[in-house]
């Protein structure tokens, strides 16, 4: 099913040592970076534009277009976003550990195309092994004269600094990442005016590209934009790494062109559901993406357009599969807990809303839910993402808050009965009551918490009062 492997070819052909520079160079490595040194900015930007390369970090924006927006002021910076932390995603870790030179070559090409002389690789703090592998690769490249002053004997200088994160998901958002790199709290900046291409790192023009995105660049130059563009399903050119996890027989990263169906991905590529159980739902593009269910989406083609048309997104390529034993309330609680924990706290709808959502979901899962709780949950969600539309209407600086709403939309659309069953029985009908750890210190039984909720209910008007309504 994988007709053309592009970014994982070398690690499959050289399972033991694809991360070493001698193997990399023996398999065509650094040839394209050397070529790029002799090319102009226009040639390189046009080639990448023509290839149709879309950013692989989650937003799927044209990489060539992103480059072309770079403001003329100099110095300009390149930041590689290796802060992979969207739950379900582990593709960049494989690229960093198994083929770091491929990314370094992509960095060199990007730096030449954009007249950049200092690149930063922002690697999440929980990936020290990845950072060690990348540091070794960068050191090798420096020793060979591929990085440093006068790379490949040209007059282009390029310094690379590896920066380790501190354990904050939000730093994967590009403006938060820039704040973090400036030695500040990783809080996203307002766009406009702080588009990185104009006012990025140190308020200078900055390109932020994902690991997988730049890892494709040597291959685009090698194959040519036209050939690369042929590895495609319509406009989604090239291959995409899918991180498949959850209740499948064959979890892992799979490099695929778009165009196969979800049924093929889950049942053929990933080996089907464990113990031949029934598929209940899956998340098609990381924790932030609205869920899909078999009755409606299994035969849908995996393309950007079809996924967005069905109200979700391919995001970071993380496919999280849940079988029939999964309690969807518990799964939703776990996802919302993540966003509540990772909210940077700048915007009230996200900071307060995600915390409330987590508490309400846990209450339902633990058998203390009330008839009105699903509506209450939707009301709080509506406060973060008005109208619960997809793509979300923003009430916040960045998309983290609206992302937390995705699992709640799934409960409303597909699992309402399961939620109400929790309330009716006073326990989880699947017998998997959330015994897990909680990030929130708040005790859901506290009477003042109920009082706050009922005030909210009264304030929002028109809805029947819950059991906890004040006397």
């Amino acid at each position: 099913m994988s007709a053309a492997l592009i970014v994982t070819r070398r690690m499959i052909d050289h399972p033991a040592d694809s991360h070493r520079i001698d193997v990399y160079e023996d398999t065509g490595g650094y040839v394209q970076a050397r070529r790029a040194v002799g090319m102009t900015r226009d040639e390189l930007v046009d080639t990448v534009k023509a290839s149709g390369l879309l950013g692989r970090g989650g937003a799927a924006f044209s990489a060539g277009l992103k480059w072309s927006f770079l403001a003329p002021a100099r110095p300009a910076y390149l930041v590689i976003n290796a802060d992979e932390s969207e739950p379900g995603t582990f593709k960049d870790r494989q690229l960093l550990e198994r083929d770091p030179h491929q990314m370094v070559e992509g960095i060199i090409i990007t730096a030449i195309a954009n007249e950049v002389h200092h690149a930063f690789i922002y690697i999440r703090g929980e990936y020290p092994k990845s950072a060690r592998r990348v540091q070794a690769a960068v050191d090798e490249a420096y020793a060979c004269g591929y990085l440093g002053s006068g790379i490949f004997g040209s007059d282009h200088d390029l310094e690379v600094t590896i920066h380790l994160g501190g354990g904050a998901y939000i730093c994967g958002e590009e403006t938060a990442l820039i704040n973090s790199l400036e030695g500040k709290r990783g809080e996203p900046r307002l766009k406009p005016p702080y588009f990185p291409a104009a006012k990025g790192l140190y308020m200078l023009p900055t390109i932020v590209n994902n690991v997988e995105t730049v890892s494709n660049l040597p291959h685009i130059l090698d194959m040519g934009a036209e050939e690369y563009g042929k590895v495609a399903h319509e406009t989604d050119t090239g291959t995409f790494l899918f991180s498949v996890s959850g209740h499948v027989n064959g979890p892992g990263n799979y490099e695929l062109a778009h165009g196969i169906t979800w049924r093929e991905l889950i049942y053929e590529v990933a080996g089907g559901i464990r113990d031949d159980r029934k598929l209940k739902a899956w998340i098609p593009g990381g924790a932030s993406a609205p869920w899909f269910v078999p009755a409606q989406h299994l035969d849908l083609e995996i393309t950007k357009e079809a996924t967005e048309g069905a109200g979700s997104m391919l995001g970071s390529g993380a496919v999280i599969v849940m079988d029939e034993t999964t309690c969807t309330v518990r799964a939703a609680e776990r996802l919302v807990r993540f966003f509540a924990h990772e909210s940077c706290g700048q915007c009230t709808p996200c900071r307060e809303g995600t915390t409330w959502m987590e508490m309400i979901l846990r209450r339902i899962e633990e058998g203390q839910g009330r008839e009105v709780d699903l509506d209450l949950l939707l009301d709080v969600s509506d406060g973060i993402s008005i109208g619960l539309a997809w793509p979300p209407k923003m009430t916040t600086i960045c998309p983290l808050g609206p992302s937390a709403v995705s699992p709640v939309i799934a409960l409303r659309d597909y699992f309402r009965d399961e939620v109400m069953e929790h309330v009716r029985l006073g326990r989880c009908p699947l017998g998997t009551a959330a015994r897990g750890a909680s990030n929130s210190e708040t005790d859901i039984d506290r009477p003042e918490v109920l009082a706050v909720e009922t005030r909210r209910e009264r304030g929002s008007g028109g809805r029947p009062p819950g059991e906890g309504s004040p006397a």
């Binding site: 690690m11 399972p15 033991a16 040592d17 694809s18 110095p75 992979e84 932390s85 739950p87 379900g88 995603t89 582990f90 870790r93 494989q94 550990e97 198994r98 200092h118 999440r124 703090g125 929980e126 990936y127 020290p128 092994k129 950072a131 060690r132 600094t161 590896i162 920066h163 380790l164 994160g165 501190g166 354990g167 904050a168 973090s180 790199l181 400036e182 030695g183 500040k184 709290r185 990783g186 140190y202 991180s243 498949v244 996890s245 959850g246 979890p251 892992g252 990263n253 998340i283 924790a287 993380a318 999280i320 999964t326 799964a331 776990r334 993540f338 959330a434 015994r435 897990g436 750890a437």
Partner: protein, 207 residues
Amino acid sequence: MSIWSEETQVRAKEIISRYPEKRSAVMPLLYLAMAEDGYLTDEGMEEVALWVGITPAQVRSVASFYTMYKREKTGRYLVSCCTSISCMLLGGDDILHAVEDESGVPHGETDDEGLLSVEHVECIGACGGAPAVQVNYELIEGVTSEKARDLVNWLRSARPEVVNTDEMQELFGGVRSFDWAVSEVDGAIGPYPAFQPLGTVGTEVGE
């Protein structure tokens, strides 16, 4: 007069030289401060402030934003159990409870001896090898409850100087997200990431 060792001061200078503006070195210097004292002390944060030319309050505001800067005494071995979605689906909660039960240390706390800290963490990017655990940020994938208990006992009895991901994967792991390829002798020497510019990489004795 710096409170840091000569070696750490040399590293701090090197790190600062790698950034166009020295404030950018706050995060790596906070890790240096942790490596000096075992966790992030008030004195450590004040020292970082002096090095980068901002106030201690500004340093604290940065440190408190990120989960990996431990501002309370942390054990020599920090055991982090992932309970995010993909690990939860495959029993991550059971792993956490097994670690808590075997060690007697509830998540978020450290034992009296200062040897083990236990925490539950959000996604650590090991979803294909769920459930996953890290010790001092060195990864073990495909852990079972039984193996998690073994891990706790091993840390308590063997007390490795260097925590090595390949060794732990071999002893306590199972399914991996992807083939890790060649094994390495480097590992972590404390509850902070093992990365050479920070001087926090140890090499296993006898290799």
